[in-house]
């Protein structure tokens, strides 16, 4: 029983991280209609900025907020300079641009900060809480789960109740009509990038204390977050966050209980998710998009 609970906690711990990353993916999808493959690498880059700030003596919380601000601005610049020229391009061309960004940002982080792993301080505490005999949970895990909840609430509130959030959704759904009702579509796209990068930065500083910081840190969370987002529904913040948690727990359980589970966890998790998607193509909580002929 303890063993099972421990796996559950491990699953929630990584699931919480996938959930925040999934929220970043939802943010960019809802505001631009694209899935940004470079989101994980951007999050890693942000985390390195936070790390540098901490090295310079900035306390962790101000460092995190500063990093979010820098990431927000940086992503807006990135969108304006690099992504904007492809506004009208084919999906495949955009994916190629994301691939370029993925490789570029990864390599840039490596060139600047090197590939040696670095410890990263937890925003909460390095300690653990004892739940029962032989079972404890990291305070960091509790903290990152709470953070997931907070980011989720903020995202949901933003899209649902703020003018800006509604404008963002409208801009992504239909450029033409949004322009007609006076929404600055071009600004909205850039804003979507900025917000996604800000959330990504949060994901990064939540991951790094668990896995340690290195340029390769973003890949595993990205793929599982993507799986979680699609499972829960990439148009739904709530669905995506829940999807992230489910994927995290699934991964831990497969690793612990399925023979050869450690080697095949990616494949098994993916197959389970795909079978859900075959039944519910828009994910568990996603909106079904009707297509015009």
């Amino acid at each position: 029983m303890t063993f099972f609970l421990e796996q559950l906690i491990i699953g929630l711990s990584s699931g919480g991280i996938y959930a925040i990353m999934a929220l970043a993916l939802v943010m960019i999808y809802k505001s631009t209609g694209h899935v940004n493959l470079a989101q994980g690498e951007m999050a890693v880059f942000s985390t390195f900025i936070a790390w540098s700030l901490v090295q310079m003596g900035v306390p962790i919380w101000p460092a995190i907020f500063l990093t979010m601000a820098v990431s927000f601005v940086g992503a807006i610049v990135l969108e304006r300079v690099v992504v904007r020229p492809f506004a009208e391009a084919d999906d495949l061309v955009i994916v190629a641009v994301f691939v370029g960004l993925f490789l570029g940002i990864h390599s840039l982080a490596g060139a600047i900060w090197k590939y040696e792993v670095k410890p990263f301080p937890s925003a909460f505490s390095d300690g653990s809480v004892n739940l029962m005999q032989d079972l404890s949970i990291r305070i960091h895990t509790l903290g990152s789960l709470a953070t997931t909840g907070a980011v989720l609430a903020a995202t949901w509130f933003f899209f649902r109740y703020t003018r800006l959030g509604l404008a963002l959704r409208a801009a992504a759904d239909n450029h033409e009509s949004s322009r007609l009702v006076g929404i600055n579509v071009s600004f909205m796209l850039a804003l979507g990038w900025g917000l996604a990068a800000g959330i990504g930065a949060v994901a990064g500083v939540m991951i790094a204390p668990v896995t340690f910081l290195d340029p390769g840190m973003g890949l595993a969370p990205l793929i599982f977050a993507l799986a979680g987002a699609l499972l829960g529904g990439i148009t739904s913040p709530f669905g995506a966050a829940l999807g992230g948690l489910i994927v995290g727990v699934l991964e831990a359980m497969i690793s612990a209980y399925v023979p050869y589970g450690i080697e095949f966890r990616e494949l098994i998790a993916l197959m389970l998710i795909l079978s859900v998607l075959l039944v519910r193509p828009a994910g568990l909580f996603g909106e079904i998009v009707t297509r015009r002929v």
Partner: protein, 396 residues
């Protein structure tokens, strides 16, 4: 006919003494060209600094006047840890750029891809930065030679130690699921002789985010000895996680991952106390060697030629020893800079004292022994530093 002519020419060369030099492609009166292929991009980029180190080292050699009056030109190539790319680079270096030899290459799967090629072409494939045992096979592969003690040999040291000192051990193994992890584990289990001592062995893949789940499984198995066969990032995670879940086994950690600053500090020094590992080099971060002449020389090199080196990263400084040995081989080869002579010199190092090697450890090779370093010392982490214990152990 051809043979006798060659013999005649060689005889003449010898007769004319030091005047005439003998060259293969890649060597001349002015220059010796060689290549090193390492991962500077991709998943194994952390190991790529070996290339920068070799290149920086020979910059220093050139500034001091080169070797026997010749400048050394090093071509460092990036294979991204991909075997196919390694072969492409090796073929280009050998066939188009015409290097005399290739040295220092990182990685077992990558070097495997050019193992046969280098031997068919009869081009020296020297001092590889990988601990697979297959590089020591002069009978079948007379042009390939490793450098560092083999993973298998190191695995055997731990197995022997455990058998002698804790015969009732219940061992749990965490290993990286690749040739590096398997080499260690297979030799370790083979040396134990009794597989029932291993109560649990779990693998992880380098694409994983953490090894938390594996550590729970190991703890659950009731193991009281933990053999940690992982690369630095995962080694640090595992040590820290063992502490978090209250698992307190006797820990053995492979030498690739025993750097204090890159592994033990992230894992937590307190948590790392008591870990047993092996070493054959003096680590720069250990204050015990602060004023050691080798260390002073290394620091001078680092400051002037390789400032981006990190003393906590094994890959950044272990190749200083390799490069020094390579310089020695080239010096000894004198004016006879042929590929054959190079292998002959590399295969006749006797008690050569390369810098940074622990006292009592030397470089030894012969015509049927292509494993340059075959001794290590056990050590234990006392909470601040590694402390050697016992005698230097010869491995085979």
């Amino acid at each position: 006919m051809l043979k006798s002519t060659t013999a005649l020419v060689m005889g003449l060369t010898l007769a004319s003494g030091a005047m005439a030099a003998d060259y293969d492609k890649g060597a001349s009166d002015e220059e010796i060209k060689f290549g090193a292929i390492v991962p500077l991009s991709g998943p194994a980029s952390a190991y790529g600094s070996v290339g920068s180190c070799i290149s920086a080292y020979f910059d220093m050699v050139n500034d001091k006047g080169g070797i026997n009056g010749r400048k050394i030109s090093v071509s460092v190539q990036d294979d991204g840890y991909n075997p196919a790319k390694m072969l492409e680079h090796a073929r280009r270096l050998v066939e188009r750029e015409g290097v005399l030899f290739i040295a220092g290459n990182v990685g077992t799967p990558t070097n495997s891809a050019i193992h046969r090629y280098m031997n068919q072409r009869k081009v020296p494939h020297l001092f590889l930065t990988t601990g697979a045992s297959k590089w020591d096979d002069p009978e079948n592969y007379p042009w390939t030679m490793g450098y560092i003690p083999s993973y298998a040999a190191e695995g055997r040291i731990y197995a022997k130690y455990i058998k002698e000192n804790m015969p009732d051990a219940k061992i749990g193994i965490l290993y990286q699921n690749d040739d590096f992890g398997r080499d260690y584990m297979d030799a370790f289990i083979d040396q134990l002789g009794d597989e029932s001592m291993v109560v649990s062995k779990v693998s992880y893949d380098t694409s994983a985010a953490t090894v938390d789940s594996q550590l729970s499984t190991l703890k659950e198995s009731g193991a009281d000895v933990f053999f940690n066969v992982s690369s630095p990032k995962f080694a640090a995670q595992a040590i820290r996680r063992a502490g978090e879940i209250g698992w307190e086994p006797e820990q053995f950690l492979v030498s690739v991952s025993n750097a204090r600053s890159a592994v033990l500090e992230p894992a937590g020094l307190e948590q790392s106390t008591g870990i047993i590992s092996t070493q054959y080099l003096k680590e720069p971060t250990n204050p015990a060697y602060a004023n050691d002449p080798d260390m002073l020389a290394w620091r001078e090199f680092k400051e002037n030629y390789f400032p981006k080196a990190s003393e906590g990263n094994w890959w950044d400084w272990s190749c200083y020893t390799t490069s020094y040995t390579l310089e020695h081989v080239l010096t000894q080869a004198g004016d006879e800079l042929t590929r054959e002579n190079l292998m002959k010199v590399a295969a006749s190092l006797e008690g050569f004292e390369a810098p940074m090697l622990l006292p009592g450890i030397t470089v030894n090779t012969s015509a049927d022994d292509f494993a340059p370093i075959e001794a290590m010392s056990l050590m234990k982490f006392d909470g601040t530093n590694w402390v050697l214990f016992g005698d230097v152990i010869a491995v085979d």
